[in-house]
Amino acid sequence: MRKKLLYYVLIVMSILSNLNANAQDRLIAGKVVDSAESSIPGVSITVKNKKTAAISDAKGEFKIKATTGDILVFSSIGYSKLEVPVSTATTINVVMTINNTALDEVVVVGYGTSRKKDLTGAVTTITAKDFQTGAITTPEQLIAGKVPGVSIISNSGQPGAGSTIRIRGGSSLSASNNPLFVIDGVPLEGEGGISGASNPLSFINPNDIETFTVLKDASAAAIYGTRASNGVIIITTKKGKSGAMRVNFSSTNSTSSITKQVSVLSADEFRAIVNEKGTAAQKMMLGKANTNWQDVIYQTAFMTDNNLSLGGEVAKLPYRISLGFQNQTGVLKTDKLQRTSLSIALNPTFFDNHLKVDISLKGSMQKARFAALGAIGSAISFDPTQPVYATENPERFGGYFEWLDKTSATGLVNLAGRNPLGQLEQRFDESTPQRSIGNIQFDYKFHFLPELRANLNIGYDVSKGAGTVYVSDSAAIGYVAGGVGGTNNTYKQTKQNTLLEFYLNYAKELKAIKSKFDVMAGYSFNNYQTTNYNYASYNAAGVKYPNTDPAFPFDKPENTLISFFGRANYSLNDRYFLTATLRRDGSSRFAPANRWGLFPSIALAWNIKDEAFLAGSKVISALKLRTSYGVTGQQDGIGNYDYYSYFALSAANAAYQFGDTYYQGYRPGGFYSNRKWEETASKNIALDYGFFDNRVKGSIDFYVKNTKDLLNNIPQPAGANFTAFIVANVGSMENKGIEFNIGTQIIRTNNLTWNLDFNATYNKNTITNLTVIPQDKNYPGFPSGGIAGGVGGQFAFINAVGFSRNTFNLYQQVYNEAGKPVEGVFVDQNGDGIINQDDLYKGKSSVPKVFLGLSNSVNYKKWNLGFVMRASFDNYVYNNNFSQSGVLNQILGNNVLYNASSNYLETQFKGNSQQLLSDYYIQNASFLRMDNANLSYDLGKFLKNSNANLRINASVQNVFVITKYKGLDPEVASGIDNNVYPRPRTIALGLNLDF
C-alpha cells in the first residue's frame, strides 16, 4: 500500500516540479480517491499553518486556495493523514490509504509485546472501544461474544457472579478448564476463590481495563507452561498518559428484573390435585392462600456504578488515578453488593527513556450480603396454598408461615421445607472481602547496548475474605427446641500471592540480511499462600456450641511455581516469521521425580500479501498464513500436597471413646504419588485476511488439541487405597475446531458508518482414552452430572471413549399413541427383557458444537446504536426441575405438601425414581440471545469555553432469548438445570463526561 501511495505522490510532485513557482494564492482543485480509485467524500483539507480549510464533496472533489510552497493536509477518519506540498500545478489529485494501524498495533503477549503484524500465534485482542457496554460489573462480561473460540457464560444473575469461560473447549475432563488470567503481568491463582466473594474477578473495576488479549494456541500460550492449556487471558489496565490532566466521570444507573419464572402449579391447580389424590390428612394441610412464592422472593433490583478518573502528567510523571463506586441489589431479595475500587497507575521514565517504570496498584473493597440461595428452590416447591406470614402463633418463627407439629420438641415439622422468605430475611450472610493486586515493573534499555533490555517485575495479589453468618434464635431454619439455637458464626481467609519475574530481551535488526531477531529469556517465581482460619460454631446468643472447636486454629495451604522461559522471534524480509518458545516449570504440587516439566512451542508465519504476486492486488489488502505447534500443561485440580499420603486429625466431635477419654483419630489420606500435570499438544493453522483496504478483514483458524494424562477422579480398587476415589493421570481427549471471524465496515461516509463483526466457532470434543490399559473395552466410562431429587448416585452424563464429554447416558423414553411419555417404560436397548443400566444409551451432549457472536455498531452523526448477540447450537440441557418436581410424589410423597413443576400436568407421572433417567428430560437448549443493545448520543463539546465532552447512553442487557428450551434459561454451563438464580433483564442509563 505504502509503495503505491508513494508512487502517486511522486508522480504528482514530479509534475509540479516542472512548473514555475507562483507566490500568489490561487484556487487549487482536485479529487481524493482511495486505493480502489473510488472517491472519498468528507475529507477535511487544510493548509498547514493557515486557517484555510475545505471539505471534499460527494464525488470526492474539492477546491481550496493556496500558494506554492504551502502544504495541504488531508485528513479523514479511517485514513492515514496525508500532507502534500503545493507546487505550481492547479490540480492536485491524491490517493488516501486506509489507516492500517491495526497491523502496527502493539499487542501484549506473555513477557513482552509484539507488533500485530509479526504475530505467529492465535492471539485476539479486544480493546475498550469494542467492549460490551451498559451495566457490566464483572470484567469477563466485557468480551462475551466478542472472541471466536471463547465461550463466556455468566454463572447466575447474582450480583457480582462469575462466569464459566472456555477457550477452545477447554483441555481437561475433570480438572480445571479455566483459563489463566494475567493482570498487568501478575498471573492470578488458578482456583482463586476468595471467601465471602462470589467471583474473584469482580474485584477488578471493568472501567479500568484497556485491553483483553486472549492467547489461544500453544505458540502464544506455551510461555505460561503448566498453566496454559486452557488458554491465557491477559488484562491490561489503563495507564498514565503524558499531557494535560484529563478528567473522566461516568455514571451508570440501572434497574433489573427477572424475565421469566420457573413454571409451577398455581394454588388452584395444586389444591385440585391434593383434593383429588391426597389422603384426608393431606387435604387438611391445604391452606387458603394463593401465594406465588417466586413473586415473593424476587424484586426489582437497582444498581448505580460511578467512576471518576484523572489522568495526565505532573512533573514529568504520567499518572492515572481512578475511583469507582458501585452499589447494587440483587433480584433475589436480600442480595446486596457494594464495591469501592481504587486504581493508581504511575508510568515515569528515566535516563532519556532508557528506564521505564510502570507502577500499578489496584485495590477493591466489597461489602456484600448473600441471599440464602436455597430459597430459590424452596420458592419453586413451597405449598402455594399457604400464606407468607403465619396466621396461627404469629409470634413464633419470626411471624413467617412454617409447617408446625405440636408433638415435636421444636414445634416444627422435622425435615420439612422452611418458608422461602423466612430463609432470606432471617439469614444474614454478610462479608467484607478485599483484594489488592499490584506490581512494579522496571524496563531498562542498556545504555551501552540499547538493543538489550532487562525487565524486572515484582508483583503481589493479596486478599482477605471475612464475614459472618447470623441466623436468629427464633428463625425456623436454625431453631432448637427450647430456644438459643440459631447461628452466629465467623469466617476468615487471607491470601498472599507473590511474584518475581525477570527477563532479558535482545532485539536486533540486521538490514544486510533483511533479518530481525528478538530473543528473550527469563525466570519467574510465583508463590500462592492461603490462610484459612477455623472457628467454632456459635448460637445466636454468641454462646459456643459445645465441642465445635476446630482441631486447628488455621490452615495454610501453599504452592510455589518456579519457571525458566525463553522465546526467539526471527523474521526475514518482513515476510517470513518464526517464533519458538520454551518453558521449564517446577511445581511444589508434585513429587520430586515428577516436578519439572518442559513446554516447547514453535510457529511459522508467512506474510503472503507482501509477496510480489500479491503486492499489486487491489482486492486483497492483507493475507497471512500462520501455523503453530506446542505443548502446554494444566495443574489446577491437584491438591497442594497430594503426592504423599498424610494423616488428618479428626475434629473433637468426631472422636472415639476409649475408657474415659475421647481420642481424636488420625485418618490417612489417599495415596497416588505419581500425579503430574495434564499435557496438551496443540496444532493451529490459520489465515488472516483483509480485502478492499481492510474494509473486510478477519481470520480463520483450524486447531487440534490433544490432552493426555488427564486428571480424572477414578475409582480405586476396593482395598487398594485409603480412599475409594482418587485423582489420577489417566486418559486422553481431543478438541478439534474451526474459528472464523469477519469484521466489515459496510457503510463509511462522513455521517454514517456501519460496522458489523461476526465470529463463529465450531468445536468437537472427543474422549480418546480413559483407562490405564489404553482403550479397555470393559471400562464403560465414568458418570458425571448428578441428578438432584432421585435415589442419589444417579447421573445424567457419561464420559466415555469415542464420545464428547458430558454425553447424556439415559433411558430412551417410550411414548403412547397420544404422544405422552409412559412412566417407567423405556426402550430395552439390548432386548434382554429387563431394563437395567445396560439399556442406558449415549445420546446428545450438553456441550455446544457451534457458537456465534455478532456485534453491530451504527454511527449516525452523533448517534451510535450497537448491539451484541450470541448464539449457541447443538447443545442440550437436562431439565432437572421437570424431572425432580414434575411428579405426583413431589406433591404427596412427603411429610408436608410440596408444589410441583407444571410439567406434571403434561406427564401425570407418579414419581418412579427410574423415571429421572429418562431422555424425555433432555431438551434442546440452542439459543439466540441479544446480550446487549445500546444507544448513545455524543453531545461533544456541549459547553462554551470548555473542552468538556459529554456522552449519554441507554442500554438494555439480556434483551431477549430465542430458544426451544422449556426451562428458565437455556444457558446452563453444567448442562443440568437446577434452580438457577435467574439472569435478569437490566435497563441502564449512563453518562460519560470527559474534560
Partner: protein, 535 residues
C-alpha cells in the same frame, strides 16, 4: 554513577534468582502430618487406633458431616455413609422387620422389593465402608509390626499395649471380612502384606474367606485381653468368641459344611467368662446402655458430644415414624422406619404389657402396611430411646436433640443364648437341650419382666420358634437378613411378608438375592473381580 547502580541492581537480582533455587518447591502441609510423625509416639498409635474404631461409628473426620471417609461418588449424602446405618438398612429393610418411608432416599428403593442392582448406593456404601475400615486395619497392623516398633524405639509396656491394639485391629478386620462374606460372598481380599496404592486385589472365594476369618480369630484369641480388662468399648476375647460362634452358626450357608458343634464350643467359652443377662430388656437400648457390662460383648460407642453422626443410633432413634421427641428423647422423628404387620404378628400380645419387648408406637399408625412408602402404614418402634435408666438426659447429651448417646451392641449375650439353643437343635454337640431351654427361658423371663409366665416347654423349642424368638429378642439389631437366609426363608415362598418382592402380599424372588452384587464401580476398576451369579 547511576548506571553502575543499575548494573549492580541487575546483577544482584540475577544472583538472588539463582539462589531462589528449587528447594522452595518442597512444601509441607500446616496441620496434616505423615505416617512417620503419627507413629512416632505411643499416643500416635492410640490415635490411629481411634480412627480404626471410629470408622465403625462415624462418617468422617468431622462430627455430623464435612469430611467424609467415603467419597460422594459412592454415596452422595454423607449422613448415610456410616457403618451401622448402611449395614442395618441391608439387614433390616430387606426383611419383615422394617421399611423406610422415603423412597427417594439414596438406595432405599429396591431393598424391600428385592430388585436391587450393582449400582445401589447403600450396597456400594457398605462395601466401600467395610473396605475403608479393612484398609485402615491393614495399615495399622503394618505400622505396629514388631519390626516397626523396634525401629521407632518403642518398647516395654508401650510396645505391649500396641501389640494389643494390633490384635484388636485384626479382630475388626476379621469382623468386616465377615460382613463382606455374609453380604457379598466373594469380595476382593487384601491384608497388611499388600502395599497401598500398588496392588490390584485378588478376589477370594467365600469358602476360603471363611477359613481366613476363622484362622485369624483363633490366632488373636490369646492376644486379646480378657473380659473386663480392656478400656470400654475396645475388643476383648469374648468379642472374638462371639464372632466365631456366629460364623459357625452360619457355616453351612457360607461353606456348605455345618459347624454347629464349634458354635456351641464358643458359646460355652463366653458363658464361662462371667457373663449374665442384664435384668432389664428396655435398658439394653438406652443412652446409658454401656453400663450393662454383664451382657455387652462388643459395642459401637456413640456420644452426642464427641462422636456425632447422622447414622448409628441417631438414625435408629430418630428414624422410627411418628414417635414424639419426648418419648425418643430427641428433637423429633424423621417419619421413616415402620414394622411390617408380619413382624408385629410375632408377638401374641402387641401391647408390651406381657412381653415387654413389644415396643410398638401405634398412635396414628395403621397395623397393616398397606403401602410400602406411606409413613402411617405399619407400627413404629420406641426400642431406642436417648434417655438414661432414670429417664434423664445422658451426661454428654446434645442440647439440640440431634445426636444420641446410645451405644449399639454388635454382640451381646442374648444372641449367644439363641445361638447355643439353635446349634443344639440343629444337631451340634457339646451342649444339651435342657441348657438350651434354660437359655431361652432366661430371655423370656427377662422379657416378661421377671415373670415366668412366658416360659416355654421343651416341646415348644423348635427351630421355627428360635427364628421367631430371634425376631422378638434381636429385632432392629441388624440380624434379620442373615437369620432368614439361614432358615431358607429370605428369598423363598416359605415365608412371605408384605411387599417382599415388591408386591403387597409378598412373593418369592430369585435366589441370587441371598447375596448382594459386587458394585459395578469396583468391577470396572479391578479386572480380577467376577460378579456374583445372576447379576
Amino acid at each position: 554513577m547511576k548506571l553502575n547502580y543499575i548494573k549492580i541492581a541487575v546483577a544482584s537480582v540475577m544472583v538472588l534468582m539463582t539462589n531462589a533455587c528449587t528447594d522452595k518447591l518442597d512444601l509441607l502441609p500446616t496441620n496434616d502430618i505423615t505416617a512417620e510423625t503419627v507413629y512416632k509416639t505411643p499416643l500416635g498409635y492410640k490415635q490411629a487406633l481411634a480412627k480404626v474404631y471410629s470408622a465403625f461409628a462415624l462418617t468422617g473426620n468431622t462430627g455430623g458431616t464435612g469430611s467424609p471417609d467415603i467419597p460422594s461418588q459412592i454415596i452422595s449424602d454423607e449422613g448415610n455413609s456410616d457403618f451401622l446405618r448402611l449395614y442395618w438398612n441391608l439387614q433390616e429393610l430387606t426383611t419383615d422387620e422394617a421399611a423406610w418411608t422415603w423412597q427417594n432416599d439414596a438406595g432405599v428403593k429396591g431393598l424391600k422389593e428385592m430388585s436391587w442392582s450393582a449400582v445401589n448406593p447403600i450396597i456400594n456404601g457398605i462395601y466401600y465402608r467395610a473396605f475403608f475400615q479393612i484398609t485402615l486395619c491393614n495399615d495399622f497392623i503394618r505400622q505396629s509390626s514388631d519390626e516397626n516398633l523396634s525401629k521407632r524405639g518403642i518398647s516395654g509396656t508401650d510396645a505391649e499395649n500396641i501389640r494389643k491394639y494390633r490384635a484388636e485391629a485384626r479382630f475388626i478386620r476379621a469382623y468386616q471380612y465377615w460382613v463382606l462374606m455374609d453380604l457379598f460372598g466373594n469380595p476382593p481380599f487384601v491384608t497388611e502384606n499388600d502395599a497401598i496404592g500398588a496392588t490390584l486385589p485378588k478376589q477370594i472365594q467365600r469358602k476360603e474367606l471363611f477359613t481366613y476369618i476363622e484362622t485369624e480369630l483363633k490366632a488373636i484369641e490369646n492376644d486379646l485381653l480378657a473380659k473386663g480388662q480392656n478400656e470400654y468399648p475396645r475388643a476383648e476375647k469374648p468379642a472374638a468368641w462371639a464372632l466365631l460362634a456366629r460364623l459357625y452358626l452360619n457355616a453351612e450357608v457360607y461353606t456348605g459344611t455345618a459347624k454347629y458343634t464349634e458354635a456351641i464350643t464358643y458359646c460355652n467359652k463366653i458363658k464361662s467368662a462371667s457373663f449374665s443377662l442384664h435384668p432389664n430388656y428396655r435398658e439394653l437400648t438406652l443412652a446409658d446402655n454401656h453400663l450393662n457390662t454383664t451382657e455387652n460383648i462388643f459395642m459401637i460407642a456413640y456420644d452426642a458430644t464427641h462422636t456425632q453422626n447422622w447414622g448409628g443410633t441417631t438414625y435408629l432413634t430418630h428414624g422410627p415414624a411418628a414417635v414424639p421427641g419426648d418419648i425418643s428423647g430427641t428433637s423429633g422423628n424423621w417419619g421413616g422406619l415402620r414394622h411390617t404387620n408380619n413382624f408385629v404378628d410375632l408377638f401374641s400380645d402387641e401391647s408390651g404389657n406381657t412381653d415387654q419387648r413389644a415396643m410398638f408406637y401405634t398412635v396414628g399408625q395403621n397395623r397393616l402396611m398397606a403401602d410400602l412408602y406411606t409413613g402411617t402404614d405399619g407400627y413404629s418402634s420406641t426400642k431406642y430411646r436417648n434417655k438414661t435408666r432414670t429417664g434423664a438426659k445422658a451426661p454428654n447429651a446434645d442440647p439440640s436433640g440431634n445426636w444420641t448417646d446410645i451405644d449399639f451392641p454388635l454382640f451381646r449375650l442374648g444372641e449367644i443364648n439363641l445361638i447355643y439353643a439353635e446349634a443344639v437343635l440343629r444337631g451340634g454337640t457339646g451342649g444339651d437341650l435342657a441348657t438350651a431351654l434354660t437359655y431361652i427361658n432366661q430371655l423370656r423371663t427377662r422379657a416378661y419382666g421377671g415373670k415366668t409366665t412366658g416360659n416355654i416347654t421343651a416341646s415348644q423349642l423348635t427351630l421355627d420358634f428360635i427364628l421367631a424368638e430371634r425376631g422378638r429378642e434381636l429385632y432392629y439389631e441388624a440380624h434379620r437378613r442373615t437369620d432368614l437366609i439361614r432358615f431358607k426363608k429370605f428369598t423363598t415362598s416359605a415365608y412371605l411378608w408384605v411387599w417382599k418382592g415388591g408386591v403387597a402380599n409378598g412373593r418369592a424372588v430369585e435366589d441370587k438375592y441371598n447375596l448382594f452384587p459386587i458394585p459395578s464401580n469396583d468391577l470396572s476398576s479391578n479386572p480380577n473381580l467376577v460378579q456374583n451369579q445372576g447379576y
